[in-house]
């Protein structure tokens, strides 16, 4: 294991058995999460990013099962941890800010009680000590601890609840925080300051982050590295500037072109044709080929492998194998 990485995912596959067939939501994924960086996973709904994140906490739930692969933390496979070790690992090593904060909080408990409960579930600590820690963190995310600790979730706005969730995720000083669509359903001004706070947490507390988002525009501001997911696979991975300025996979290029901006020429925007694939009935060969403007006969027959296309860059597209780079 490379000591610059917090987490190393190797050849991970996760399947869901449904009445109508078996879905492979994560398909032989390998990914490193380097220390001290913000890594982002971008993909549309159903691309497998949330399933992958739930595997990192080892909380994949039925009907999903981890078919094969390992997830290493300090050289140990967390998928082999016993219940006791897992309880410590979750929240103390890796914590998560779930999508839709309003659903993640218990509506009939005060925020303070919920914070105490969360800490005690993972660690022995005195209540006054927990309240002090919670107050510091709430203050850090620009909330008034005195008011918020006593409040019920319905007394807080969406942006405040999301900041409470960020404070929750930091309670046990984790090394890595996973953020699953942390600003979806929030207004742009709220979204902007939530990311201000997250960047402050990342820099000042030196916390590594894994950000999941469907929106490549949001990711552009925060991420150091971007992985693009499609139909359960990481199809391209690289440093943020490189990805935006020199995409090596047609899907990445398509996502960037489809993102409307308030600045660029609108006539350059265009959608990717077709729609996201049905995971029960994936296209043969490269799963993206029916939507790809560069697809050839080879793409229909053979799945492209992820190959190195530069320093710390991977792309899974036959175009790169032939040395034909995308314009």
């Amino acid at each position: 294991m490379n000591e610059n990485n917090i987490i190393e995912i190797r050849d991970l596959s996760i399947e869901f058995k449904l009445r109508s067939g078996t879905i492979r939501a994560v398909d032989h994924v390998s990914l490193d999460i380097p220390k001290g960086k913000v890594t982002a996973l971008v993909g549309e709904s159903g691309s497998g990013k949330s399933t992958l994140a739930s595997a990192i906490l080892n909380i994949v739930s039925a009907p999903g099962t981890i078919k094969n692969g390992s997830i290493f933390l300090n050289g140990e496979d967390i998928l082999r941890y016993n219940a006791n070790r897992l309880r410590h690992y979750r929240w103390s090593d890796v914590s998560m800010v779930f999508q839709a904060a309003q659903n993640a909080l218990n509506p009939v408990m005060r925020i303070g009680e919920q914070m105490i409960e969360t800490v005690l579930a993972h660690k022995k600590m005195g209540k006054p000590e927990i309240i002090e820690k919670a107050s510091q963190l709430l203050d850090y995310v620009r909330l008034e601890p005195g008011r918020v600790l006593k409040a019920y979730p319905h007394e807080l706005s969406g942006g405040m609840k999301q900041r409470v969730m960020i404070a929750f995720s930091l309670l046990l000083d984790p090394q890595l925080v996973i953020l699953d669509e942390p600003t979806t359903a929030l207004d742009v001004i709220t979204q902007d300051y939530i990311f201000d706070i997250l960047l402050k947490v990342h820099k000042e507390m030196n916390i590594t982050m894994l950000l999941l988002s469907h929106d490549i525009s949001v990711v552009a501001r925060v991420a150091d590295r971007i992985g693009v997911m499609y139909a359960g696979k990481i199809v391209e991975l690289g440093e943020t500037f490189e990805m935006f300025e020199n995409a090596k996979h047609p899907y990445t290029a398509g996502l960037i072109q489809a993102a409307p901006s308030i600045l660029d020429d609108v006539s350059e925007n265009k959608s990717i044709k077709g729609s996201s694939p049905n995971l029960l009935n994936l296209p043969t060969g490269c799963a993206f080929h029916p939507r790809c403007e560069f697809s050839t006969d080879l793409c229909k027959l053979e799945q492209p492998r992820a190959i190195s296309v530069g320093k710390d860059r991977l792309a899974a597209c036959h175009l790169n194998e032939k040395g034909e780079m995308l314009a």
Binding site: D187, V188, I189, A220, R221
Partner: protein, 338 residues
């Protein structure tokens, strides 16, 4: 000639009661809104959640009767129309909603959902004619071949396809105006552009006017690039003009802050260090709006005048702005990293 639709000093105040005998609190969702829509134009109505943009859409489509002011359709007061006139107005002004799954009956096929309105309004005479017309409509909104979709149920289609069905249903009654309330916010980013382009094509080929209601300035700019834009804050319009003029030189301090917060799909711009030009990040409650200019507690340029008197919309340059200090507000710029 009169405008297609005019809002004259319209206010819409809801009441919320707390408890059985509690006092009713007024919620001013729209305050003194003055706006008109011309035949065949696209107007983007932009604002954050709670600004009253959806309420405006519902007032325009006749789903809410405004508590004050007049709504004129082709010069006639909608709420004083006779039955035939009102029915004609309701047919001519259609609404496309955000949640395409909730807007279609899950137990009925696309053919059933689309044939009912045209049969009801006697635009076709028989089921056979209705079938042909529905095929034609599906073709128009890009669901081709129509036979592949006509017998499907809503759950068998993707969000983008259902949104196309809603547009087909809206145009089936040959309307003059379609109010589209956040039509793409629940659709995958890679497909949004296609739906927006479809709306802009329907506008051009059929001459239907559109009101595009959204929180997303980037898509508003995309669909209404040659149209107009109105920006709302806490129930009021704060700036209005052609999309080009408004975005080239945004003047209202709220619009400047909103624009600064829009994510930009370019890391060289997105990563540049900047702070939002705002004093306070949280929006005040609409149940207790601030005195004077409702933006003053968050505004960097607010003075005592702003706390006391509400500004009105006045022409400034090429746009109309509601701000006491419009001359003082610096030009909006955006930084980049090399």
């Amino acid at each position: 000639m009169s405008s297609l639709l005019e809002l004259h000093n319209i206010s819409m105040v809801f009441e919320q009661k707390s408890g059985l005998f509690g006092k009713a609190t007024p919620i001013p969702a729209m305050v003194d809104v003055q706006l008109s829509f011309e035949p065949g134009e696209i107007v983007a109505l932009v604002g954050e959640s709670g600004c009253g943009k959806t309420t405006l859409g519902k007032v325009v489509t006749g789903l809410h009767k405004p508590t004050e002011g007049q709504l004129l359709y082709q010069g006639k007061d909608v709420w004083k129309m006779n039955k035939a006139e009102f029915s004609e107005y309701r047919r001519s002004v259609q609404l496309v909603q955000q949640d395409s799954y909730a807007a279609l009956n899950p137990m009925r096929t696309i053919f059933q959902s689309l044939s009912d309105p045209i049969l009801q309004h006697k635009l076709v005479r028989s089921r056979k004619e209705a079938y042909d017309r529905v095929c034609e409509l599906l073709d128009t909104v890009g669901l081709t071949p129509p036979e592949q979709y006509i017998e499907k149920y809503p759950h068998q289609m993707s969000g983008g396809q259902r949104q196309r069905v809603l547009l087909a249903r809206a145009i089936s009654l040959k309307p003059k105006l379609i109010v589209a309330d956040e039509p793409v916010s629940m659709i995958d980013v890679s497909l949004r552009m296609a739906i927006l382009r479809l709306m802009s094509n329907l506008n051009k080929s059929l001459g239907i006017a559109f009101i595009y209601i959204t929180h997303d300035l980037a898509t508003a700019r995309y669909i209404a690039q040659y149209g107009r834009m109105a920006v709302m804050y806490l129930g009021k319009i704060v700036e209005q003009g052609s999309v080009h003029d408004v975005l080239a030189a945004p003047k209202h301090p709220y619009l400047q802050a909103l624009l600064s917060a829009v994510p930009v799909p370019n890391p060289r711009i997105a990563k540049a260090k900047r702070e939002l030009p705002l004093k306070s990040l949280d929006m005040p409650s609409i149940m207790n709006p601030p005195s004077g200019c409702s933006f003053h507690p968050r505004c960097l340029y607010a003075s005592q005048t702003c706390e006391q008197t509400a500004p009105s919309l006045m022409p400034y340059g090429n746009t109309i702005v509601s701000c006491h200090h419009v001359e003082k507000v610096p030009q909006w710029t955006i930084a980049t990293v090399k």
